[in-house]
Symmetry: C2
Subunit: 675 residues, 2 copies
C-alpha cells in the first residue's frame, strides 16, 4: 500500500463499517483495509452516487442461472483463452521487451488490452474467493507485464523500437490510451482482489507520465478509443489523487483543434470534442458507450450538470431508437457503428458482444447515480441476452457479432484476431456478483435476482445478511430472508422489472405496501429483524412484444420474452421441413393465449422452452414470386406447425442453424386462411 | 465504309428489304446501305434471335410520356452535361495527349467512358433525325478523341506517360477494356446515325490491338468491369469479323488462373471465371448485369446452350430474389453490390441508375433471343421506374442511388465524380424509340406502347406502317392502325403486360381471338389491310402489391402500382402534420376499393395521382417506445389522413422530402382501431 494514498472519506458514516470490518475480518492487513470494501466500481464517496456498490467478495452466489455460467467461465473460458493469447504472441510481446529477444511483435496494435482484460477477469474471480493456482499464474503474468515498463512509465508493446518515434502521434488509431485504461482496470481489480499494488503501481506510473506530459497547457491528448476515462475516474476513487479525475475531464472535454481531427474521426471515435456536446449516438458503438460510461463516472464525482443533460439525451436516443431488444447495440458492420434512428436490421445486426457489455456498464453507472430502475432494466436486458449470447455454453467459443436472425452461418469461434470480446465477456461474467446488491443511506438495494447470500452491512454500519433463494429467471418466485445484526429500521429496495406487470410482494406473508410498480424500486421501509421474509412473485407468462413500427425489419413481426429473457426460433427445433423463415405466429385478441412453457433440464444446460402453434406457408416461400397481388388472408393451404422457442442467449450452441428472434405474426386463424 | 467489311447476310429474306430500302431511300449512300437499318443492337442475322430490332430512325415518336422526357434529354440534359464534362477535364484529358500540353490528367481513371456514353447519347439522338449543330459538335469531339489515339491503336487517357508501364497490368481495376467497350458503342451508334466510321475505326483499331496481343495463346485479358463483351459482339455484328465475337467468348470464358485473381475479385467483378459457371448474382450489380448482357449477345450469335442455361438460372435469381419492385438492382452501397436473396432494404437501397439500365439492357437482349414477354415486363418495370427516376424532370439533375424510402435527403445532383449514371441515362432516353417495335419472320412485335408511327417493313420486305395512338401509361387504351403496303397475311404480336389482368383486344371492333393473356404476346394472325384497327384496353386500376414475406423490410407493407408505374408517398403531399413514416393504408377484402385516380396536368409535367384514405398513429411514432407489448388493433386514437400517391419516377422533383414506396397496411377499419 506504500504507493497508494487513500482518498479521505467524505462521509463520516463510512468510518463505522470500515472500523468494524477491521475488527471483524481476521485477514485484514495493517496497511489499509479499504480494498476489501470496493466493488466493481467504488463509489462510496462519490458525491453524486445515489446507490453505492457492494464488493464482489460480500456476495456468495448460490446455485442457479449465473453461477453455472460463472463456473464455466472459471473452469473453461479463462483457462482456455490464456493459451490462445500465448500462442498468438500477446504475452511474448511483453517478454521480448524485457528479455530484449529479437522475435518480432505479433498481432494488431491493441493486443495488450486483451491480456489486461483477461487479467481483470481473473482478478474478479479472485475477489469471489482465493484460487491459489490462478492467483499464482496471474502474479507471474503481472511480473512479465511490469518488466516491460520503461523507466519513464511508458508501457505499450507496439510503440517501441522502430515505432517509438510514433508514440502519441497517431492517437486516433494508436489505442495507447485504451490499453492504459485496461491496464489500470486490471491493476485496480487485482488490488481489490488481493491488496497487492504491483500492477496498479505500474498503471499509475504510466498514468502519471501521461498527466505530466499532456493536458490543456501541455501536449494534446485523445483517447481515440475511449476507455481510459472510466479507468482514470476509478484510479481517482482508488487513490484519492484528483489529477486523474481532472485528466479524465480533460479527455472528455476534447482537444480537437490542437489535434486537427476531421469530422469523420470525431464522429467515429465519439471523442475529441466536448462529451457534453453530443446529442445522439453515432460512430463506433463500443467507443461511444465507453465514453458515456466514463462521462457518467465523471459526473458522479463532479456533479457537472452539463454531463447529466447530455447523458439523459443520449440515453433516450439509445433506448428509444438504437437498441436491439436483446440489449445489443451497433447496427452496422461498417465502422462497427450505430445506424440511423430505428435502423435495427436483424440478420445484418453487428451487435458486438463488447457493445452489449458497454451498454450494461453504462446503464450500471447511470443506475448508481440515479437509483432509477429503468437503468437496471436495460442492464438486465443486455446481460441476460446480448451479452450472454456472446459466450457459448461450453465457455470456449465466442460471438463477436450477435445478430437477431441468421441463415445458419457458424457465428462462434474460439479466437478472433481482434479478440476484444472473449476476455471482455470473461471479466463481465466474473464480476456478476458485484451487480446484485447496493446500498444507500436509506437501506439496501436488490438490483438483479439470483440465489445468493450477501454478507455486508448498512451504511450506518449495522451488519446485514440477506439470503436470497430463487430459480430466477426460470421461475417466478424470489424469497429474501433479511438478517440484520439487530432489529433495525431501514428500507429494502426491491427492483420490480419493467416487464413485470403483476408483481406481488409480501413481507412475512402480508402484502407489502405500497404495491409494486413495474420499472421502479419498491421501497419497503420497516424495522427489520432477523429472518423477516420477503417474497416477490413475478408474472413469468410469455410476453409478445412489438417494435416501434418505424423499425423497418420488425414491422409485421413480434418477439417473445419471458422474464428477462428474449426468445428465438432455431431451425433445429422444427420437426417438419418448414423453414424458420416461412412460419408465422397466429395471435388472437389475447396474445398470451396458446403458449406452453416447458422446463427442459436436458437442453443446453437446462432451459425453459416456450411452445406455440405456428402457421407455415403452403410451400416454401422461396418458390413463391417476389411480388404479387396482395390479398387478405395470405395464401391458400397454410398448415399448422409446432414452434419451440428457446432463449436467445442459447442459440448456436448445437449445430449451426437458421435462427430468428422477430417472427412474423398473423391475426387470422389457421382455419380462415385456407380460403 | 472503306474500313468496314459487311457481314454476309445469313438470311436471304433480308436482301429484299435492303434492296427495297436502297431503291426507296433517296439519301442512301453508295458505300452500303446497311447502317440505316441497324437498331440499338443489330441482330438481323443473329442465329438465335427470335425477334429482330427495328432502327430508331424507323420510329417517329408522337406526343406522350417518353417524347416529353426525350425532348428534355435533347434540350436540357445533353447540352448541360457537356460543359460539366469539359469543366472536369474529361475532354482535356484527350487534348493534352494530342497537343502534348503539360496540364495534368484529371478525374478517376474511367472518365473516358463518360464522354463516350455522352457521345453515344448524341448519336442515338441523331438516329432519330439530323440536328446539324449537335452533329457538328459531336464530329469535333470525335476528332479530338481520335487525335489522342496512339499509332498502335491504344487509346486511353489514364495509362499514358508515367503510367504507361501499367497498361494491362491491373485489369481488375483499370477500366481500360470498359472504356474501349464504350468507345466501340459510341462509334457504332455514330455509324448507325451517319454512316461515318471515323470513331468506329478508332475503336476497331484499338480492338484489333487487343485481339492481336491478348487471348488464349497470347497475354491474358480480363474485362474487370464487363461491358466490352457486348460491344465486341456488336462490333462483330457490324463488321462481320468473327475474331471480335471470338474475343468476347474468350473474355466471357475467364482467364482466372493466368491472371491470379482472388475469390473476392472474381465475385466482385463477375468476370475472370467462365460466365457459364455463374449460378447466382453477386458482387457489383452493373458489372454482373453488363456481363449477362454480353453473354446473351454471345449466345444470340453462337447458340451455346451452356450460356442459355446459366442465363436462365441467373434470371430467376434476379427476378425471384434480388430485384426491387422498381426494377432497380444492387441492394448494398458497399461494393455497389447485390445482397443475399431477399435482401432488399428500402432506405439503404443502392439501386444505382446504371444498374437499372443494365437490367433493362439485359432483359431487352433476353427478349430478343426468346420472344417471351416476361423479359419485356422486367424491361418495362425498370425503364418506367428505376431508370426513369434517375433523371430529374428538369433533365439537369441525376440520381446515382434510387432508394425506395428516404428521410428527405437531397438525392439529385448535376454531377458526380464518378459520373457514370448521367450519360448512361441520356443514351438510354435517346434510344427509347428503338425499344418499341420488333420483327420476326411471322410478323411485327409491339413491345412497349407509346404514341408513335413506325415506317418499316415486314421481314419479307412488304412495306408496313403502324400508327399507334395512346396516352399510355396514363390512360388505358392503345389503338394501332395497321398500314401494309398491300393486304398481307402476317401476325401482329401485341405484348400484354404481366400486370394487365383484364386486357381486351379488338380488331376492327371485333374481339380478338384467342383472348389476351397477361405476360404473353397476343398473336393476331390475319390478312392485314390498310387501316385495320387494333384496340387494346388495359385495366388501369391501381394495384396493391405485396412482396414475398422473406423480404425483411417489406413485411406488413404494400406497394401501389398503376399500369407500368410504381407509386410512392412523398411527405410534401401531406396536408396534415403526420409523418409519411407513421401512416398505414387500410385494406379491406377487396383491396382495390377506395382508390381514386386523378389526372393532374399541373403536377410535375402532368401525372396521374392516386388517392386513398390512410390511418395515422395517434402521435408521432418517434414519441412511442421502441418496444412494447403487442396488442391487436394497434394504438388508440388513430385518425384518418388523406394519402396522395405519386409515380415513383417523379419523386424528389420538388423540395427534398421524405418518401416511401412500401407503405404499412392494416386490415382493421379506422373505427375498430380506437378500442
Amino acid at each position: 500500500m506504500n504507493s497508494l494514498k487513500m482518498r479521505p472519506f467524505l462521509r463520516a458514516a463510512f468510518l463505522v463499517p470500515v472500523l468494524l470490518f477491521l475488527l471483524l475480518a481476521p485477514e485484514a492487513r495493517a496497511e489499509g483495509p479499504d480494498w476489501r470494501s470496493q466493488g466493481i466500481v467504488y463509489n462510496a464517496s462519490s458525491p453524486q452516487a445515489k446507490v453505492h456498490t457492494v464488493p464482489i467478495r460480500a456476495v456468495k452466489m448460490g446455485e442457479g442461472f449465473w453461477s453455472a455460467r460463472m463456473r464455466t467461465n472459471v473452469e473453461q473460458s479463462i483457462p482456455s483463452l490464456l493459451p490462445l493469447l500465448e500462442s498468438h504472441g500477446v504475452l511474448d510481446n511483453f517478454r521480448r521487451l524485457s528479455s530484449r529477444k529479437a522475435a518480432a511483435r505479433r498481432g494488431p496494435l491493441y493486443t495488450d488490452s486483451d491480456i489486461y482484460k483477461w487479467m481483470e477477469a481473473v482478478a474478479f474471480v479472485l475477489q469471489s474467493g482465493d484460487q491459489p493456482a490462478l492467483r499464482a499464474k496471474l502474479g507471474q503474468i503481472i511480473d512479465e507485464v511490469v518488466a516491460a515498463q520503461e523507466p519513464s512509465g511508458y508501457l505499450n508493446t507496439y510503440y517501441v523500437q522502430e515505432r517509438e518515434s510514433l508514440r502519441f502521434t497517431e492517437m486516433h488509431r494508436s489505442h495507447e490510451l485504451y490499453c492504459l485504461g485496461h491496464l489500470l482496470q486490471a491493476g485496480i481489480a487485482y488490488y481489490r482482489a488481493t491488496g497487492e499494488t504491483k500492477l496498479l503501481d505500474a498503471g499509475r506510473k504510466y498514468a502519471d507520465y501521461l498527466v505530466q506530459n499532456f493536458g490543456p497547457d501541455k501536449k494534446p491528448a485523445l483517447t481515440g478509443h475511449p476507455e481510459l476515462e472510466m479507468a482514470l475516474v476509478e484510479l481517482y476513487r482508488t487513490t484519492g489523487e484528483r489529477r486523474y479525475l481532472e485528466f479524465a475531464g480533460y479527455l472528455l472535454g476534447g482537444d480537437r483543434m490542437r489535434l486537427n481531427l476531421t469530422d469523420d474521426q470525431v464522429r467515429y471515435m465519439f471523442s475529441g470534442i466536448p462529451f457534453t456536446s453530443h446529442r445522439k449516438f453515432e460512430g463506433h458503438a463500443v467507443r461511444a458507450l465507453y465514453a458515456s460510461s466514463g462521462a457518467t463516472d465523471y459526473f458522479a464525482e463532479t456533479g457537472d450538470e452539463e454531463y447529466l443533460r447530455a447523458l439523459a439525451i443520449l440515453w433516450r436516443d439509445l433506448v428509444d431508437r438504437k437498441m436491439y431488444v436483446t440489449g445489443g447495440v451497433g447496427s452496422r458492420a461498417a465502422g462497427e457503428s450505430f445506424g440511423e434512428p430505428y435502423e435495427l436490421p436483424n440478420a445484418t445486426a453487428y451487435a458486438e458482444s463488447c457493445a452489449a457489455i458497454a451498454n450494461m456498464m453504462w446503464n450500471w453507472r447511470l443506475l448508481l447515480v440515479s437509483g432509477e430502475a429503468r437503468f437496471a432494466d436495460v442492464m438486465e436486458r443486455a446481460l441476460y441476452n446480448g451479452v450472454n449470447s456472446g459466450m457459448s455454453l461450453s465457455g470456449k467459443l465466442y460471438c463477436y457479432r450477435n445478430p437477431l436472425e441468421s441463415a445458419g452461418e457458424d457465428v462462434r469461434a474460439p479466437w478472433y484476431d481482434t479478440t476484444c470480446c472473449p476476455p471482455n465477456l470473461e471479466r463481465t461474467f466474473a464480476s456478476i456478483p458485484g451487480y446484485l446488491y447496493g446500498t444507500s443511506p436509506a437501506g439496501i438495494y436488490l438490483h438483479l435476482y439470483h440465489s445468493s447470500t450477501l454478507d455486508w452491512h448498512l451504511e450506518d454500519g449495522t451488519g446485514l445478511s440477506l439470503v436470497e433463494e430463487t430459480d430466477y429467471p426460470w421461475n417466478d418466485t424470489i424469497t429474501v430472508t433479511v438478517k440484520p445484526a439487530q432489529p433495525t429500521e431501514f428500507s429494502v429496495f426491491l427492483r420490480i422489472p419493467g416487464w413485470a406487470q403483476k408483481a406481488k410482494v409480501t413481507v412475512n406473508g402480508q402484502p407489502a405496501q405500497p404495491p409494486a410498480k413495474p420499472g421502479e424500486y419498491l421501497e419497503i421501509h420497516r424495522v427489520w429483524k432477523t429472518d423477516d421474509k420477503i417474497r416477490l412473485t413475478l408474472d413469468m407468462s410469455p410476453r409478445v412484444v412489438m417494435a416501434n413500427p418505424r423499425v423497418r425489419e420488425d414491422l409485421g413481426r413480434v418477439a417473445l420474452e419471458r422474464g428477462p429473457l428474449v426468445y428465438c426460433l432455431e431451425q433445429l427445433d422444427f420437426v417438419a421441413q418448414d423453414s424458420v423463415s416461412d412460419v408465422s405466429l397466429p395471435l388472437g385478441p389475447d396474445p398470451a393465449k396458446g403458449f406452453i412453457t416447458e422446463s427442459r433440464p436436458d437442453m443446453m444446460g437446462g432451459i425453459v422452452v416456450i411452445k406455440h402453434k405456428g402457421i407455415a406457408a403452403p410451400k416454401p416461400l422461396s418458390e413463391e414470386p417476389l411480388y404479387r397481388a396482395w390479398s387478405k388472408g395470405g395464401s391458400k393451404g397454410s398448415h399448422e406447425v409446432d414452434l419451440t422457442f428457446i432463449p436467445y442467449y442459447a442459440w448456436a450452441n448445437r449445430l449451426p442453424s437458421p435462427m430468428e428472434v422477430w417472427v412474423p405474426y398473423t391475426t387470422e386463424s389457421p382455419r380462415s386462411r385456407g380460403r
